[in-house]
């Protein structure tokens, strides 16, 4: 799994790519919670995620809950089909705010 963190004011953007599994998800969790510690609203781009298991989903849930407690926005953007299938299985596709693309979310922001 690869992680890229970008500044997209007012957001922090975490891009996850590759397999998000029990081996790699602790790094995803660390990146997500690290951005939230900076009190920035967070977008997580899942467009290049090829595989996600329940530990990857757990990292997203923890991020969502942490953001909510802090009154910060947390949303997923461009969710790859492989990740969307798992979110649907966990019935989280209706819980997380999900945007079709980063551009779409940024345009709404303007």
């Amino acid at each position: 799994m690869d992680i890229q963190i970008e500044d997209r004011p007012p957001y922090k953007l975490v891009r996850l790519s590759g397999d998000v599994d029990l081996h790699s998800s602790p790094r995803a969790r660390e990146a997500i919670l690290g951005c939230l510690k900076q009190k920035a609203p967070l977008l997580v781009d899942l467009s290049a995620v090829s595989y996600m298991d329940s530990s990857g989903v757990a990292s997203l849930v923890e991020g969502y809950q942490t953001a909510k407690k802090q009154g910060l926005e947390f949303a997923l953007v461009a969710v790859a089909q492989s990740a969307m299938n798992v979110l649907k299985l966990a019935r989280l596709d209706k819980v997380f705010p999900i945007h079709a693309s980063l551009d779409e979310r940024m345009a709404q922001q303007r």
Binding site: D53, S54, A58, Q65, S82, L89, A90
Partner: protein, 139 residues
């Protein structure tokens, strides 16, 4: 039963990608070559991955030097996976899914296995193993 895979892996998170690759490859030989066959294979991959996670995480508590065996076969149109380990004793009581209405990280693995498979149960472990989890799915 036609054996598709019989392999022992180190009980380490690093090996999960290797397990998925092996299961995906084995399923390609028996699942239909269309979209539904591909979905069936991916569901088997996800369920087996979750079962392996449970062994590594809960059965062995991430301890070094442990291993588990995965046997995958097809019998009369049913894909069957056996996961064999020597971790903490496990039983069907450990296979109760949690309520999804409760939003919290973790505890989704059993739900995934139950949703994706037609059967999830602990069966009599063969000699040399403490636990044997059987996952089955009609193809």
């Amino acid at each position: 039963m036609e054996t598709l895979l019989d392999q022992t892996f180190p009980a380490s998170t690093e090996v999960l990608s290797e397990v998925r690759l092996a299961v995906r490859d084995a399923c390609q030989h028996v699942c239909r070559g269309d979209k539904s066959g591909e979905e069936c294979g991916e569901q088997m991959v996800l369920a087996i991955n979750e079962a392996c996670m449970n062994i590594i995480q809960h059965g062995y508590g991430f301890a070094d030097g442990q291993q588990f065996t995965l046997r995958l076969g097809v019998d009369d149109g049913v894909l069957k996976a056996l996961l064999l380990d020597n971790g903490l004793p496990a039983s069907d009581g450990d296979l109760r899914p949690r309520e999804l209405d409760e939003l919290r990280p973790g505890g989704l693995g059993v739900h995934f296995m139950r949703e994706l498979m037609d059967g999830v149960a602990y069966v009599q472990a063969p000699e040399g193993f403490a636990n044997c989890l059987q996952l089955s799915k009609r193809i």
